[in-house]
């Protein structure tokens, strides 16, 4: 018996919000969308999804409100929504960085039952037109656990994420922002540097560019306004860039001295192959803040939130060894 949500409001109908509206309806849950952009709202409505005329109307009666607008609009949305939130309404978001949102909630909606979230499911295309109800399948989805987080709300949201086919990863806002600096921010900055440096070689190079340039620069296709919201104000990205620059400088120095890029190529190869070959095993978890955070820290996630007369059983996967 699942204690799920009955009505979900999704505010912001871009790639993530739009995909979420479609995925939630596929899961059989009542959903309503809203977008400040009339063209986006009209497109969603024309596709047969209910779209509310105001954010207050969307939120009315919802037991889950998803903030899916771009990060710069989150604070204003929270101010507008705070008075309209029911006392049992859970609020979540889908942004890449979790600390700025957590701070905005503490400032603008301190009484909200808030659980930050981050589905790691983007593609470089954006907007309602790119939305896909299967976008979240098998994707990690960071769900934030802070000292003030309601574990009951966290479990309810984790259950929904599992129902959408994704993998809830429990973590703190600070840990998740440090982690995404290295696996989201850094790849986007490197892709930008590769795209620019490749182009500087002139048209011959662009005609010779093939697979490695194509995949290395792929995420430079992302709108730069979005990249900034994933990168700026994340001190961990400075450290990640320092590390990457140190590796590149070391390879550059070796090359210039007539030596080899082999050490970096070999270390990078091992890192990538080890990542691909990680193995996992099932585990049963207890639903405590400390255990959830530790589970995420070791690379684990949640696979099911089961409820019976004895309470909640929480199942997950964790890396072997």
């Amino acid at each position: 018996m699942t204690a799920g949500f009955h009505r979900i409001a999704v505010l912001g109908l871009g790639l993530i919000g739009g995909s979420l509206v479609q995925a939630v309806r596929q899961a059989g849950i009542d959903v309503v969308g809203y977008d400040t952009d009339p063209a986006t709202a009209a497109a969603a409505s024309a596709s047969g999804f209910p779209v509310a005329p105001t954010d207050a109307a969307a939120v009315h009666g919802a037991d889950l409100v998803v903030l899916a607008m771009p990060l710069p609009e989150v604070a204003r949305a929270l101010q507008s929504l705070a008075p309209n939130l029911g006392s049992n309404t859970i609020v979540t978001d889908v942004g890449t960085l979790k600390r700025p949102v957590l701070e905005a909630v503490r400032t603008h909606a301190p009484h909200a039952v808030f659980v930050g979230g981050h589905p790691l499911a983007g593609v470089e295309d954006t907007g309602w037109g790119a939305a896909d109800p299967l976008l979240f399948r098998d994707s990690p989805w960071a769900l934030i656990v802070e000292p003030e987080t309601s574990i009951e709300a966290w479990l309810k949201l984790a259950g929904l994420v599992c129902d959408l086919g994704a993998k809830p990863v429990p973590t703190t806002a600070a840990d998740q922002d440090a982690a995404v600096a290295r696996v989201i921010g850094l790849p986007h900055v490197l892709a930008g540097a590769l795209a620019v440096t490749g182009l500087a070689g002139g048209p011959l190079g662009l005609s010779l560019a093939a697979g490695s340039y194509m995949s290395g620069s792929r995420v430079a296709r992302t709108r730069p306004e979005l990249v900034t919201t994933w990168c700026d104000d994340n001190p961990a990205l400075v450290a990640a860039l320092d590390d990457a620059i140190a590796h590149l400088t070391s390879a550059r120095t070796a090359l210039a001295a007539g030596s080899s890029v082999y050490p970096l190529a070999a270390e990078g190869h091992d890192a990538r192959i080890n990542w691909e070959h990680r193995r996992f095993e099932p585990v049963e978890l207890s639903a405590s803040t400390a255990e959830l955070v530790a589970h995420g820290e070791t690379g684990g996630w949640v696979t099911a939130v089961l409820r019976d007369d004895d309470g909640v059983r929480l199942l997950g996967m964790r890396p072997v060894g």
Copy 2:
């Protein structure tokens, strides 16, 4: 009427050589392979392709010899082959860097009719088992024009490359090595740095890693021994790394000062989108060294080598604007 090749010997049956053997046979040309590794030779033979017991036997009677062994083995192969080459036999290779091979030919086989080649068609998998007769379809294929290059041999090889569905790009060894520094060497070094730096974030980050880490580190899957043959001894890669490091350092400085990665993200986005949106127009070329080199320099390639009673007509594509 095509003045094509009648018998092609491919020495080295890894990904490129193996794919070439299969593509050449698909094109209806007699082909024989050779590999110093008995297991590779046996695998090719078991797949139904003729494999010679020695390189001398493979080369006997061939009007085209393809050096498809790893770069470190090319010099020794040339020494061994030089006495066995017919005076009309054309020799080519498939390596990433063209200057080292050109120097090896000048040293070890100065009388060979040599035209350096580089199909830009690798994938990160290697070996005969990954060979694919369609590997070269629509791929650029650098064909080297130097002052000593026989234009007749160049045209004959360009015709074969067109027959395999690829796009011959005329260029000098120095120009091609400078270009591939930015579009092959650099993406591989960046992928290595990303793979290592991402891993350094610990298991949480590896569980959150998704599309951008996956595509950014994809070519770190390549065997590091191969990466070194594409990167080492290419001075242009030092300059390319300097450029990339300067862009990354600039983004890092902006971030640390509370500013934005926006300038790099925007410039990278424009570079990538402009690359995708390049348009081309057909052109008829004259078969002179100077015009061929200039055509490649502006981003052009050859689409057909046509022969009739009046001689050769050379068709190509070049960027518009």
